[in-house]
């Protein structure tokens, strides 16, 4: 101990996320909703155009992801080199993103370059040409990345889990194969794009200083009409396999660690228990001092990290516990995970631990609304999952009021370890 007398510990003020207000919405002339997210200190704008054009809309495997990746590879007016040169000259960054449920084009630009950049965003979104040469190069790159990912225990275990949970034919569960990449054509991409990248299938978030001032420019570039007669595509009805609980071992020769994934069916974000379940999984494995981290990392030293998540796609919820451990610890890790769940099913959490988790989640929620770009991401989650504009106000209320009795009840209702898919990816 170094010398000197320290001052007594300060009083810690219970954190609050305050009243969270949902951003204002405007509409372009063609009806496209624009969410305006204010605040910010620098002259940088974040504009995201979101389409319901994720993997669930695919008729041909990988067409959603590849259509998104090809947007900036050439348009009807510009070849790939020219369009990229024009984008880069503005200093802006355009990111094409696609996941299971949605696809988007995210643009971050200096405010003074907005007009130019939106014109380019419109060009890549609505007039891509999907040229063969660029598509062939992209396909080769993606196959190489795919083959590399076959060596990653965490990727293989994740895929095996979603497949077991949703079914091999379900878009949430389907695992890509090398042949899927090889058989995909630019025609598949054109068809997917034509059907799904429509103004009437889009909403926009604008984040930065004075977002309302961007409306005339958005009207100019995105106030356009789609093709006549093409309606908004309807989400397909998804079928979920009802697989029995099973142990799955995925062999990855030579790997020095194994990924363990233990998971099962959960609930989607609109379910009344979803918010409570967030609190419950936080206690189990959602923070540095969680039950699982204390036991499996800080006491046993089996792993660098272990996490529990109650997550949800648009139409499927799941609960999963995941960790990377040395091969020799994987059985022990599974045993300890089950033990920690059993304890939470049997014993109520103490008030002390409840307070800790309440405060932690309150701070986390406050941080999700800190700064316009972060708020834009949070708002997107609310819109995409249609959870209602007051979702986070309800969540902070749940954080404040949920009882240890309710937590125990949630563990007993949703953490039935006999229904678990137990997945291990690693060396034999």
């Amino acid at each position: 101990m170094k010398a000197g007398e320290p001052k007594a510990a300060p009083v810690i003020i219970t954190p609050s996320a305050g009243v969270i207000s949902f951003p204002e919405m405007a509409r372009l002339g063609n009806g496209v909703p624009v969410y305006l997210i204010d605040k910010g200190t620098v002259d940088l704008m974040r504009i995201e155009c979101v389409f319901q054009a994720g993997q669930i809309m695919e008729e041909v495997h990988l067409s959603a992801l590849s259509a998104s990746a090809m947007l900036t590879e050439g348009t009807r007016s510009y070849d790939a080199a020219t369009i990229n040169d024009l984008i880069d000259s503005t200093g802006a960054a355009l990111y094409h993103l696609a996941d299971k449920d949605t696809a988007s084009l995210l643009t971050i630009t200096l405010t003074r370059k907005l007009d130019e950049v939106l014109a380019l965003a419109r060009e890549v979104l609505f007039r891509p040409s999907f040229p063969d040469h660029e598509f062939r190069l992209l396909t080769d790159r993606r196959i190489q990345a795919f083959l590399t990912s076959r060596q990653k225990t965490s990727v293989i275990a994740r895929e095996a889990f979603y497949e077991a949970l949703c079914g091999a034919e379900n878009p949430y569960g389907r695992i890509a194969r090398e042949s899927d990449y090889r058989s995909l054509t630019t025609g598949d991409l054109r068809r997917f794009h034509q059907k799904h990248y429509l103004p009437l299938n889009m909403y926009i978030t604008v984040a930065g200083r004075y977002p309302e001032q961007t409306l005339p420019l958005l009207e100019k570039h995105f106030g356009i009409n789609g093709r006549d007669g093409s309606g908004r595509p309807v989400r397909p009805i998804l079928h979920f396999a009802t697989a029995r609980p099973v142990k799955i071992f995925c062999e990855i020769p030579g790997s020095v660690q194994s990924t363990v994934r233990l998971g099962w069916d959960g609930i989607t974000r609109n379910h009344p228990d979803y918010q409570g379940l967030q609190v419950a999984t936080t206690i189990l494995g959602g923070y540095f001092g969680s039950r699982l981290m204390r036991n499996i990392r800080e006491e046993k030293g089996y792993t660098y990290g272990i996490h529990a998540v109650a997550g949800s796609f648009r139409e499927k919820g799941y609960i999963v516990i995941m960790t990377d451990v040395a091969n020799e610890y994987r059985e022990a890790a599974v045993k300890e995970i089950k033990k920690e769940i059993r304890i939470l099913c049997e014993d109520e959490v103490t008030d002390e631990e409840m307070t800790l988790v309440r405060n932690h989640l309150m701070g986390e929620t406050a941080r999700m609304f800190d700064g316009p770009f972060t708020i834009a991401e949070t708002v997107r989650g609310i819109i995409d999952h249609e959870t209602g504009h007051d979702y986070y106000n309800r969540f902070t209320e749940t954080i404040r009021s949920i009882t240890p009795g309710k937590i125990k009840e949630l563990f007993n209702t949703y953490f039935n370890i006999d229904e678990a898919f137990e997945i291990i990816a690693g060396a034999r």
Binding site: A9, P10, D88, G91, R141, T148, G301, L356, N359
Partner: protein, 425 residues
């Protein structure tokens, strides 16, 4: 064509105030009223370059011990969470950095926690042994259980023969982590973890004067200790090409080419940093255009600066397409680099790189946590004002400077090459 500098617009600057406590602790405060949160960032001038070559990875292991508790705070994370905060840390070759982001009305709690673990730490053997296991798994997870994950472990001892940059921050080998004992932990703590070897920066909706007063109350009693007294043998100039070939269980070959550069605070750094953007900073940059799209040699091709305080490296890193000979791929990279020594980059290329730099700079100011770290980092490099003055360094880079820097840097004798090849089946 208009160039960026001629456009009349407001150049955004970060305002901050500085104060040094009597024990030598440097305190920097940036007031940002747009956020309800505050970040306290504590940077210790201690990194893996300060380690014993026989026990590498120690600075990083020690970072883990900083979360292990003290006599008055048994679990560091508990009060942070009670205050609604998040916290983390990282270690690199030069520094160890800790931060807490929390609602600004709990600023005092963050300062109390940081002062408490600077004042005294639980360094029991049991705690140390547990964190050795955790770090061993971290080593495996990040470097051994990832395809291409060991490239960093291979490159450093190839490029450096004398300077401690010859090992990565995680350590040279898992067996080194095993060697750490609580006596060396105590010595490391006493040597580096004291006010005179540390910078505290705070960014958020807080009044600088209030922060200075609170810092005095919380840290003022801690004896100043001594500055780290670091004296490192500098790397001699490399005068011969070095080459290493390895075979691994990966689907595609990977090429690394590393060249020695100047220190972080030197004109060389800014010139080369802007150049790496022109080469690979965006889709229309030279490497994606030529090496990926036109010549179809690589599936990805990047070049970046390692960015350390002492003379660092500029590193080309590229994944090679199936069926391409790695020697041909390397030849094409060399041709591009040689070209820089013979012909000026264009005005349009410079403008693009400047625009991108400007966007990235503003982007990095979106978060108070980032501003807090950058202020502390610039201060340890020499002057926190660097957070603002660096902009001019980048904006003033000329085509002539890029040519001269390329001539000096991209010489065959200054190059370390790794051919990372798929194992023969």
């Amino acid at each position: 064509m208009l160039t960026l500098v001629s456009l009349p617009y407001f150049v955004f600057m970060i305002k901050f105030e500085r104060h040094t406590l009597t024990n030598g602790l440097r305190v920097i405060v940036h007031h940002d009223e747009s956020t309800p949160m505050v970040t306290t960032n504590i940077l210790y001038d201690a990194g893996s370059r300060d380690e014993d070559p026989r026990a590498t990875g120690f600075a990083h292991l020690f970072e883990h011990l900083m979360f292990g508790g003290t006599p008055s705070v048994p679990f560091f994370d508990v009060p942070v969470m009670m205050a609604g905060g998040e916290n983390n840390a990282f270690t690199n070759n030069d520094i160890t950095n800790y931060y807490i982001t929390l609602p600004s009305n709990n600023l005092e709690a963050a300062l109390w926690l940081e002062a408490d673990r600077m004042r005294g730490l639980d360094l029991r053997e049991e705690r140390l042994n547990n964190q050795k296991s955790v770090v061993t798994e971290e080593f495996r997870q990040r470097y051994l259980n990832q395809p291409y994950g060991d490239l960093q472990l291979l490159l450093r001892p190839l490029a450096y023969k004398v300077h401690p940059y010859r090992w990565p921050a995680i350590g040279m080998d898992i067996s080194h982590i095993e060697k750490a004992d609580s006596r060396s932990a105590k010595e490391f703590y006493d040597r580096f973890y004291n006010p005179s070897n540390c910078i505290l920066s705070v960014a958020g909706s807080v009044d600088p004067e209030v922060v200075f007063t609170l810092a005095e109350e919380r840290f003022g009693h801690i004896p100043s200790g001594e500055h780290n007294g670091r004296r490192l043998e500098q790397e001699p100039e490399q005068d011969e090409r070095r080459e290493l070939t390895v075979h691994r269980n990966v689907p595609a070959a990977h090429l690394i080419m590393a060249f020695h550069t100047g220190p972080r605070v030197s004109r060389d750094f800014y010139v080369l940093d802007l150049l790496t953007d022109i080469l690979a900073g965006y889709d229309s940059a030279r490497f994606p255009s030529i090496l990926i799209r036109k010549k179809e040699l690589f599936s990805d091709a990047d070049i970046y600066l390692s960015g350390e305080a002492d003379p660092g490296l500029v590193i080309f890193s590229g994944r090679i397409r199936e069926g391409i000979d790695i020697k041909d791929a390397e030849g094409a990279v060399t041709a591009e680099l040689n070209h820089l020594a013979e012909e000026y980059v264009t005005t349009a290329e410079l403008e693009k790189a400047r625009n991108r730099y400007e966007s990235n700079r503003l982007m990095s100011y979106m978060s108070a946590a980032n501003k807090a770290f950058n202020l502390a980092y610039q201060e340890v490099l020499g002057d926190a004002e660097g957070i603002n003055s660096e902009r001019e360094q980048y904006m003033s880079v000329t085509a002539e400077e890029i040519m001269v820097a390329s001539q000096c840097t991209f010489r065959p004798g200054n190059c370390s090459v790794i051919h990372y090849l798929p194992a023969k089946r």
